[in-house]
Amino acid sequence: MSSIAAFVDGPFWYFSLTVFVVGVLWRLIGLLSMRGNKELSQPRDSATGGVIHSVLSRFIPVAGSQSRIRVRTVASYLFHIGLFLILIFGAPHVAFYESRMLGFGWTPMPQWLFFLVSAIAFLGLIVLWLHRIMYPVTRSVTTASDHIATGLVFWVMLTGCMALGESSEFLRVLHLFMAELLLLYFPFSSLMHAFYWHVARAHTGAHYGRRGVKV
């Protein structure tokens, strides 16, 4: 193994993992410790009910905007579910978790399913990215950071796809390197929505639930 590969496989992996874990914790703790204005009014309804309703109901777009964001909604589900399944049940990933992180593994998905799920995840990601660029509203609120984050996710997936044959050490190290770059970028980007989404929904739901407003 070359020195670069050894570096990517060893020190750089632990460094990027540490930055990821500490960064995510730091941002989550920072978010949760933020204090808004104290509510002085009498609660008119249950904040807990608002949280539950808000967290669950937002899985489906509100009725008024369903038609105009149908493509994004479907593509988003395809991408996120596909990516989740690949990360958790992809055979190479399960082997990696067992050998490098956890010491135990679980039954991975068969290879044909892995191919299918990966293709679906790619489909979702490409459609989402294109729609972000083409649709005037999303285009106007997209920053360079969003494109970098999407690009990193795309390259991690693409290099993972390239390494599927498991015939080359170079391709495996390349995939790991891209994943490490993604881990480093993650806490400082909009990718944090992976940890924020339910917090944001819960906060909104509690706020309006307490006031007795149906959202």
């Binding site: 990966s118 293709a119 294109l130 005037p136």
Partner: protein, 385 residues
Amino acid sequence: MSKHRRYRRALRWSLLLLALVLVLPLVPYAVAAGGTQFNTPGVELWDAVRARVQGPMRTQVEGVQSNQLINYWGDQWRLFRSQLLVPIGAVMLLAMLGIITVFYLVRGRIEIEGGRSGVLVPRFSVNQRVVHWLAATVFIVLGLTGLVLLYGRYVLVPLLGPEGFGVTASACKEMHNLFGPLFPVAILAIMFSFGRGNSFRGIDFQWFLKAGGLFGHAMADSGYYNGGQKTWFWLTVLFGIAMSVTGLILVFPNFGQGREAMAVAHVIHGVVAVGFITASLGHIYIGTLGMEGAAESMTNGYVDAAWAKEHHNLWYAEMERAGMVGVSPNTMEEVKRHDDRDFRGFGQPLGRREPLDPTVSPPNRGPTGGGISPAATPSAPKEST
């Protein structure tokens, strides 16, 4: 850096990449002239095995044709691939490149007569453009990786060495297999998004007779799609179906198909792929370098009114009558236009729009590209019909 310069730079890089892809197939001939030899491992072993094969073998291994040690038909497939598909495919690709180059040198870029008007007309919706670029992305990935698998042994081995090519080929094979199942999805999306309005009509044959105005300044009448665009659409559908079916047979050998079926599928896959890529070069050329104002329809969804009037005069006339000429991109007006509609109803005889007023004639197509109403500018109020 201005938007125009960025666009030109992106165009230059795209053309450079395209040229590289097209020139790479030349290398095998240069390599062959240099006398490079490729050693095929195990030739003697397999010659000995072939000499002992009399018929189907007995084996404990389960699987389709697992008792068949040597598939003689496979040799025919191999010879077809190496002696016909590879050289003829290279000739086709190079010939198309040559035709495009000669055409560009002789005809030059097809400019908008009289220049741009500065008035925009919406042409493709967001969903149509997403579908187009999805199909284009998948097509380019599959096309490039497919060309590496077909020509890489001749082109890349001398450049990267056997080990480097092994890594590249492995990566390309996996990408090709993984992106392959997306192609039928993209083709289906193309059919649904662009199907309406792509039936051939009488004026399309007149368009063919005038060669679409490629060789002169007399443009043929055209609705939303012209004859060339309709031809490309149907080629995409037919080639796409052939590529998808044969590709799925090849990439999922789980359904009991034998070697013969896969060899036939591979032959069709390879022949259609070369034809598809060759035809796509023409599409890419005319959509980017070859014609001023064409690429914008698929990038920002708008075309200049002078371009629309020159190349799709019947559609333009109906857009003008419908008050759809003159819009402001990046505004809520654009969002509303793009949310739930496309613009094919205009210029189609069986569209859902109001029937046309036959007393209103199409606007003149003079050399100045004039005839655009001042009322159609973004800042002026528009009259709706």
